[in-house]
Symmetry: C2
Subunit: 247 residues, 2 copies
């Protein structure tokens, strides 16, 4: 069954968004009476019968509805958008497939990109959500300056981690905990990943002063988007490691 994203599914009859309508009518050659699956990105799953099919407007009637519980624990991944936007978009797609709750773009001292593309980035997330058959859409937050980011997210519960490369010795943050060891099964986490040129020493100091834990992903120098996906996947695998600990 084809799956579509509709941010607001109404009870009873409702109109599908214009782009999904065109796709249904032109590409999929849907017909009146066909049943489609709709997800609302907030756990809602609906089966609906098409009652009007036209390239400009399709309408459907909900025949069944249900909802999936949100995935816990929650992971917020903060990332400095990459110079080439396709690397960030690649990360968004993969992070959604593997499982991330929230993506928070951040502007850092050494950020080379300063242009936000929220609509485009959100579309990537929607496509990935449909692909991996999830009904929860990761939240894409408006970008924040790193300072504001620290202000807002320091209040979140769970682990607060800042991933960075080795810095000059003597700096208090030169000791980094392996990320895998910092994770606790069942605990929420906020992880921030620096730009291509890494966080500035002063940014790392600001974070650690607020209690953020400096973490490392190992000796290999990972690209920004690889490091970010590494964090998402380690977080999800840590949850599994809990389930198997009793074996």
């Amino acid at each position: 069954m084809r799956r579509f994203f509709v941010s607001d599914v109404l009870e009873g009859e409702f109109d599908l968004p214009r782009d999904e309508s065109r796709h249904l009518a032109k590409v999929l050659r849907a017909r009146v009476g066909d049943v489609v699956e709709l997800v609302d990105g907030r756990g809602g799953r609906f089966q609906a019968t098409l009652i009007v099919v036209s390239p400009s407007q399709c309408s459907a009637e909900v025949v069944r509805s249900g909802s999936d519980p949100a995935i816990t624990p929650q992971l917020t991944l903060a990332i400095a958008p990459t110079k080439k936007t396709d690397r960030l978009e690649w990360f968004l797609e993969k992070a959604c497939e593997i499982g991330v709750t929230r993506v928070q773009p951040i502007w850092t001292r050494r950020s080379e990109r300063r242009v936000e593309k929220p609509e485009r980035w959100n579309r990537v997330l929607i496509e990935a959500m449909k692909q991996c058959q999830d009904s929860w859409l990761p939240e894409l937050e408006p970008a924040l300056d790193f300072k504001e980011f620290l202000e807002r997210y320091s209040a979140f519960k769970g682990l607060h981690a800042i991933a960075h490369c080795p810095v000059e010795e003597g700096l208090s943050s030169s000791i980094r905990t392996p990320f895998w060891d910092a994770l606790n099964p069942g605990e929420d986490a906020v992880v921030c990943i620096g730009p291509e040129g890494d966080f500035a020493a002063s940014e790392i100091e600001s974070a650690t002063a607020k209690g953020w834990l400096p973490v490392t992903f190992g000796d290999r120098r990972l690209r920004t988007e690889t490091a970010a996906l590494y964090a998402v996947q380690a977080f999800q695998l840590k949850q599994q490691s809990r389930n198997t600990r009793r074996l």
Copy 2:
């Protein structure tokens, strides 16, 4: 210091490859006397002083050499090339960054792509190796039909896993072990990932008949290249989980 890949580093004086020469002379504006780092993809690391700099030919003299031990345990990742080659290339880059020993392209019943691009794929691996500061280049094997693949790799030591989506009930391989549980720290592994349309039931049966373990990466439907990277990262994190088990 700039890092270059030279498949054969000779003792004493030697010529750099043409493309690296052009890059050094034109883009990096290197000069005679500059010191560069060279890696040979087989663990060798060399420092060399440039003695001739010209866009058509640079020459260098080795002033220091050393070698890194190979990373163990070994992971062989077999993947059916994706319809769009950029998805496979993306996987190659990321798998090299995270750490993979060998990549084995496979042709399966439902493979949509049948064209191999070994030179191009190898260049992606070389760039990623330089990026992550490794001196070991993952081995890129010539593609094999799935049947030949099973013949050859069943003899490898360690875990043999075939990752696939749920299949019809009743098939012996309908029970799949979570991949994380199947991994053992310190043990080599060969993992095969199917094409976009998944392995055919007969391919799964052939593999299980030879003792391959059907594994799952969870309930989310991952793209081929996402599943492949998931396997690489789970393998590497499993090694870390051993190191922290005593904590």
